[in-house]
């Protein structure tokens, strides 16, 4: 117990110790901000990988680590699309994942927004044209927000999420 407390005291608070994300490389549209209005104070995300190389997953996971601690902004990660306000989709949409993506979209209750994370989800990236790829994501489901990058840094994803919260009168940023 003493060891654990000592470690925690030595470590201190690491939240926010990361380089700034900068302005989103693809502007967040006013429509998307409007659509995300119900989720300004609390947004539950369901992440769907439709064929990514897993780098985007690693960065989405990083959002939950103590450095980025996305929960402090009221953003939660849900285990099921039925609990989600937002779908985060990564990957170029493979032939084998196409149906699962559509099912997940249907299973997510309205109102909802869809965020495409990474070059693959936005344009199919390197996998464009392949016999096994039918994306990008917006060919199959409507996409509201796009976060390009291969993969986008967690700080960049945070910056976009902050943008979606920007009209919150109580927001501290």
């Amino acid at each position: 117990m003493f060891r654990i407390l000592k470690k925690s005291l030595q470590t201190g608070v690491v939240t926010g110790q990361h380089p700034a994300g900068g302005a989103p490389s693809e502007p967040v549209s006013q429509d998307a901000i409007e659509k995300a209005k119900p989720f300004r104070r609390s947004m539950t995300i369901r992440e769907v990988d439709t064929g990514s190389c897993n780098a985007c997953e690693m960065e989405m996971n990083a959002l939950a680590n103590p450095v980025y601690d996305v929960e402090r902004f009221g953003v939660h990660i849900a285990a099921s699309p039925r609990h989600a306000d937002a779908l985060v989709v990564t990957g170029p949409v493979t032939v084998n994942m196409e149906r699962a993506l559509k099912d997940v979209y249907k299973a997510t209750p309205d109102p909802k927004i869809v965020i495409a994370v990474g070059d693959c989800a936005v344009t199919c990236g390197m996998f464009k044209g392949s016999y096994a790829v039918t994306g990008p994501v917006d060919r199959h489901i409507p996409v509201d927000v796009r976060i390009p990058g291969c993969p986008p840094r967690p700080a960049e994803i945070l910056a976009v999420l902050a943008k979606l919260r920007q009209d919150d009168p109580d927001a501290d940023t």
């Binding site: 897993n54 980025y68 990660i77 285990a79 990236g125």
Partner: protein, 530 residues
Amino acid sequence: MIDARPAVEQVQAAFTQAITEVCAVHGVPMLRVKKQDLPTIAHFLHTNPGLRGSLSLLWAVDHRPREARYELCYLFTLAERKDWLLLATDLYGDEREFPSITPHLHAAKWYEREIRDLFGLIPVGHPDLRRLVRHEHWPKGSHPLKKDFPWDRVLGRVQGEYAFRKIHGEGVFEVPVGPIHAGIIEPGHFRFSVAGEPIMQLEVRHFWTHRGVEKLFEQQRLTEAVPLSERVSGDTSVGHSLAYCQAVETLQGVEVSPRARYLRTLFLELERLHNHIGDVGAICNDTAYALAHAHCGRMKEQLMQLNDRLTGSRFLRGVNCVGGVALDLSGLQLAQVEVELNTLEQDFSAIEKIVFANASLTERLENTGILTEGIAWDHAVIGVVGRASGIDRDLRRDRPFAAYDVLQPKVALYRYGDVRARMRVRLDEIHESIRLIREVRRGLPLGRLVTRPMHEAQSGVWALSAVEGWRGEILYVVMVGEAGRIHRCKVRDPSFVNWPAIQWAALGNIVPDFPLINKSFNLSYAGNDL
């Protein structure tokens, strides 16, 4: 009595009639054999006590348009000699059948199913010919790696359903999981048959993220495919790009400079480090020990930020290029790396003590998900998972690449094969990686970063390359086509070998322990599905 003659001679002596050609491909001995004799020769290599061959790779090549021939190549790692041996056989003209070696070697099971799906060649005698890569909605007769299959043709969907193996009986029911999982992880399907809580059978149904990577390689030029190799499995960007670059360098006769070799070692170890630390945290998290997860997440993030500062990429992308490395590190940067890793090692050691002082955590790890040495050997399991089950293999020691011939890593080895052993292998390797990075800094020679090719890569020639990534052995076979293009690129992530083994490790465990077992394997779905 153990026969001391070279493996090739032994096989030649035992199978005089079967062998049609003996040669070597870039130093790897190769025997061309008649296809009907393949199973017996494979069995001989596998069971002979002086050779103890395990199947490391099986791949096919469509030689059209040059000639109407399919070639099948079997790479064996001879455990007793720490050496490689290749078997090859040909199918000419309209021949589509070859004898399956799976009845003798479990390890061939997925390879042969994969070849059937992607090339339409039929492994006769294979006990399980269900589809693997092409899910049931792919039309019949579509085999994407055949040369007459256009790389960009998306096919229509047909009806069809995968036939999972069923267990019938009172109280037995099935638990389907996936392809979309509860956490932020890649898609894959697990089908459990359970009676109460214990798992009676687990069947893995993967290949949801099949993106056609190998076909995409064939659209690229030899020197321009490095970015694609970095995106085979994102968390192994350095491992995959290094394996690819080494293959191309062999083809071009490039001798990489010592400085580039040392830097490659440094980047590969940095990649191992951040992944292993992340895994240790994730294993703790799956026992609901959030404290260790938080600390490990913080340290992993620290390493990824370090990667970013050094190379401009958190995943160390863009560091490897054909002929060497694309960027240099200054003495100051290296000093900073060492300072940062020194503090990190202390930091991490403190967490290690906290973790192993926690009995309720270690209790979950011990005896969970045991993969015995026998099963690991049968399935040719490699990497972290193999070393936790007593499979003493590490390419950094056995077939040194980059600067490992000089630096000589110590190989972590445990025998018990449970989650704890897999965690222990990672802990040992974390300390070893930090030590290796210190050695790199101490011994980093001066010299150029990129070496120009000696000659153009010759069309029709191929090369094999192996790298011990953080998960295990990454193998690449690159074959040159016309005008500097790639004719064939076989990619083998260690996940492809280790996934079938998880089906055995899970047996008898309770369903709630499966996430923990899965995490302790931590295999790539993208690298497996390609």
